[in-house]
């Protein structure tokens, strides 16, 4: 710290900017940068910090490496048929992951169908419709939903949502929409529908916060322009705001999907945990994440464990792709690039 800067009389005093015309070129002094005392510590610091940056990458690589290594056995035993087979028989060491893939996809799809309109509606309401004073509290409360732990969602779902479903919602659905075949069978409450609904509640805050972010990036003059043409407020939102933010909203939805695919505890607690493929949403199912939660610590035998890790690997790959896609979409919008080219 101690260097020639302190000995210069023109630097002491409360006029820091006014002295810019003092040219340092004429002053003869040793080059500060090369011999600065911070040289070696600086290098150490930079390498330590860079190592931390690398660690993030290393962790991701480690995840891939471990998953691939530990699922090797199952991959060699079953190959691609692993993802097409629907037998899950640990006793006879026959493993097919199709019921889990099906359960994961269907429960996430149900969640999206419920969550997307709600989340977009909330985002539109908070950015375009509600009084300014309500904006902060409203988004705070919606985001509070994201802070509730998964296991508490599950607990609530078991004791509140499931009885509600089996007592009121499912009989009603069976009576009105039973002909579609989606709502058949005994109304136990526990099953795909319950899992989808609880997932929907969990992903609404994600989708709505991304959507809100994207809507706020839409320039104000866009809204004013559409209003000036005589549009009503809804027409302004539809034409001037939502259409422009489309790519970003899709990004938010995909991000929500990524969360729903990997969600474990709440789903495990209400989906019924039976590896079957049934058309009805009332039927119990099983997801990739919940089979891991239930069976991983009890798996006996190398092939069994390896098959479970392979499910984990598949889940990992799918969520990575889904998340990367979502990030790219959100980026293109919030970075001000023309979003329509990617939409």
């Amino acid at each position: 710290m101690a260097n020639s800067a302190f000995s210069r009389p023109d630097m002491s005093g409360p006029q820091p900017v006014a002295t810019t015309n003092v040219t340092t070129a004429t002053v003869q002094r040793p080059p500060l940068l090369q011999t600065s005392s911070g040289e070696i510590p600086d290098r150490i610091f930079k390498s330590a910090i860079t190592a931390c940056g690398f660690a993030v990458l290393a962790v991701l690589i480690l995840i891939v490496y471990e998953l691939v290594r530990r699922s090797d056995l199952s991959w060699h035993a079953f190959g691609l048929k692993f993802f097409a087979g629907s037998d899950w028989d640990p006793v006879n060491e026959k493993f097919g992951a199709l019921p889990f893939i099906y359960g994961t996809l269907v429960s996430s799809l149900v969640a999206l169908v419920i969550a997307v309109p709600l989340a977009v509606g909330v985002a539109v309401f908070t950015t375009e419709m509600c009084p300014k004073a309500l904006r902060g509290p409203l988004s705070f409360f919606v985001e509070l939903l994201a802070a509730i732990p998964s296991v508490i969602y599950g607990l609530w779902a078991i004791f509140v949502l499931v009885p509600l479903l089996s007592g009121y919602v499912q009989p009603f659905l069976a009576k009105t929409f039973g002909w579609t075949g989606l709502f058949e069978g005994p109304p136990y409450g526990i099953g795909m529908l319950a899992a989808g609904i609880i997932l929907a509640i969990m992903i609404v805050p994600i989708i709505s916060s991304i959507t809100r972010e994207v809507l706020m990036v839409v320039p104000q003059h866009q809204r004013e322009g559409v209003l000036a043409l005589g549009a009503t407020r809804w027409e302004m939102i539809r034409v001037g705001v939502l259409r422009n933010a489309r790519a970003g909203i899709v990004g938010g939805i995909i991000l929500g999907l990524g969360r729903a695919l990997g969600e474990t505890m709440a789903v495990t607690m209400v989906i019924g945990n039976r590896p079957e493929i049934a058309k009805s949403l009332f039927a119990p199912g099983y997801t990739m994440a919940s089979v891991l939660a239930n069976e991983f610590s009890e798996a006996t035998g190398d092939v069994y464990l390896s098959a479970l890790v392979e499910i984990g690997l598949a889940l990992f790959i799918v969520t990575i792709i889904v998340n990367a896609l979502a990030r790219l979409l959100v980026w293109t919008v919030t970075r001000g690039q023309p979003a329509r080219a990617h939409a």
């Binding site: 993030v56 005589g230 994440a289």
Partner: protein
Amino acid sequence: MPESSVSNGKASVPPISLRRRATDHIMTGAATLTVVLVLAPLIAIFGYLVYRGIGSINWAFLTQLPKPVGETGGGMANAIVGSIFILAIASIIGVPFGIGAGIYLAEFGRNRFGGFIRFTADVLNGVPSIVIGIVAYSIVVLYQKHFSALAGGVALAIMMVPTICRTTEEMLLLVPQALREAAYGLGVPRWRTTLSIVLRTATSGVITGIMLAFARVAGETAPLLFTAFGNQFWNLRYDQPTAALPLQIFVYAISPYDEWHRLAWAGALVLIILIVTSVAAVRYVVRRGSFGAA
């Protein structure tokens, strides 16, 4: 509305048709309804948590070990302490790496490689927690030969890093460039500038990020299922299976016993209170402290 007529000096705006006005009102109503529908479960969950949990939280719950099936009473003291223990391990591992990576991104990462790391952190953030559990299992549990608090801590640490890293970066970028230049101008080496000027200025923001990450992992159950595993008794050894509050709630919730359900609700209430107060407390301390920034 093609014939927007301007006649004899007065601009006459054509009336908006009833259909368009009705649509406007309907959509406003629909948007309001979505807000109600989203906030309803929030209120229902918190309300039910307090309603079912409050009666069961007492001194015994907070200080006793779980009782075997059939006996009433008992508590989750070991799970509460275990949770704090695992979270402490996770923070010790995760916080330095997270802050370091954040500093890297903010101070040295303004290039292509930095962008790549940034993207990696975002992707890591989206990895399902159960998958991270598998990885912690295979890098810690398989070497130690049994479930342990350390394995749980490692899993949670991996989940903390991306959140801490990205918020740290954002907060450091808010620190004005002029501050760095002023420090360099005084001959302060770069590492000192970064640590005692930039990081110091952004302290409150960085701590907020840490708390966000903390709150996120405090309720995590999935990565602990086959790392910390759970334990019916006290344990404060890093290499032994350890009870954790979320795990205990899970086990009790899916059990068929009413007494255990009661304990699960009480545990859930304690967990939520733990999360909310830890966040609120740190916010309060940071806001009162001398480092005012962000």
